[in-house]
Point group: C2
Chain length 257, copies 2
């Protein structure tokens, strides 16, 4: 199995019993802002001390984004760290043929934009929302100040970056599989795990055409392979909703048994 | 162009004029150990203050590794940060068919092993040397102590991790290209850039069979495509040594013109 990485435990907003989460929730409630609970939903901030929570809360700017909104473009510079609280964000790159292809997807709890922020270089990819999303923003100076004040937070950020690196390696690892069917099976299992590991049904986070690009197949091949999975009763497909009917069989196709 | 990332400027051992590098060199000379100048060769340590250099130097254990040496295995745990000072390291994973495939290659200045170290989880890949290598090791406790004492070093580590993430994304981005010829052209230009950007000749860091795995092609396809490049006078190939003869043409094939 390639994607062995279990998704981080994301506490629901204002349900956790830890002191720092309580502090976040107290602040969220008291601020009167439409706060998408950036801090409580994001694992990297899950063990902050109350004073760090206060510090971060005061510098985070939550924002709702509609579907297809561009967060930043390849070649732009920005001095913001983005933390995804709800929704899916696509990291894409303009391919040589002028088409956009997806480098990787980001799910709730992931952060992005750190490349331009930390290296003070232009972004190497575009980031846009695949659907409605809540994204929190932290300005560079505030972010660096938090790191300076809290070595533990810095260590957690490193750990989270290291996790993203594992995900990127796993993603690449899927792409070197020679059979498109195996790549598709792996990616379906991955999307289910990222969406809701306990459910058998999930909505594809991207369009089928984009999914074809993700697994390095033509849209025709994707459509044929998906049809074959449906004909064999392994999944059922209704527009972008996928229901896994024979999980053991799908895992076998993904080479995970 | 996918691999836009220029390789970090790596100072030759004991040639730099910066105060921290001088301190490193003074220490290297005085210690009497066969030190492969871990600190002076590795960008992440390039701007340390003298006291940080002293601290790190006292906790780094350099070691020479022969070709094919296993540094760690998938599933193992370790509490060591590895810094590659010379040579090439392969990050590999056992594929479902029992064969090993390369996730990514690491070049001098890269560090690895941080996943197990930071997350206290088993390694998700194997690391082994592709050739003779010098690798420096830092123990977890010492590494965390350096981060705690020096927020600047922590920020540089984050920045370096962020760079590795960009490389992994770029690697995946090459793999989604539909044409094997384009993937090969990109990878040859990438290897040249990582080996010596100013030279036209370089040795493949991995065997041709492994290169086939890297670009998601069969060995037969790789051999045919490499033969076509040679027949067209774009490169010449002598065992693992590649000479780029028509760079503009190779860049065009890679879609980089």
């Amino acid at each position: 199995m390639v994607f062995t990485h279990t998704p981080p435990a994301i506490a629901g907003p204002c349900t956790s019993e830890t002191s720092s989460a309580s502090a976040i929730c107290a602040l969220s409630r008291s601020s009167g802002r439409p706060v998408p609970s950036c801090l409580s939903r994001v694992p990297v901030f899950s063990q902050l001390r109350p004073e760090e929570v206060h510090l971060l809360h005061s510098v985070m700017r939550p924002r709702h984004s509609s579907k297809g909104e561009v967060i930043f473009r390849e070649g732009d510079r920005s001095d913001t760290l983005y933390v995804l609280s709800r929704g899916v964000v696509k990291l894409t790159k303009l391919a040589d043929n002028g088409k956009e292809h997806i480098l990787r997807l980001l799910f709730p709890g992931d952060f992005f934009g750190q490349f331009s922020l930390l290296q003070e270089k232009p972004h190497y990819a575009n980031a846009s929302t695949a659907d409605e999303a809540d994204i929190c923003r932290i300005h560079r100076a505030d972010f660096l100040e938090v790191l300076r004040r809290s070595p533990d937070t810095a260590a957690r950020f490193m750990s989270a970056l290291s996790s993203q690196l594992e995900e990127a390696d796993s993603w690449a690892s899927v792409l070197t599989l020679l059979e498109a069917e195996r790549r598709l099976a792996k990616m379906l299992l991955y999307f289910r795990q990222k969406t809701d590991p306990s459910a058998n049904e999930f909505k594809l986070p991207v369009s089928k055409k984009e999914l074809a690009g993700v697994i390095g197949a033509t849209p025709e091949t994707l459509s044929r392979k998906l049809g074959q999975l449906a004909d064999a009763g392994i999944v059922s497909v209704s527009r972008r909703v996928i229901r896994i009917r024979k999980e053991a069989e799908l895992r076998r196709l993904a080479g995970e048994d």
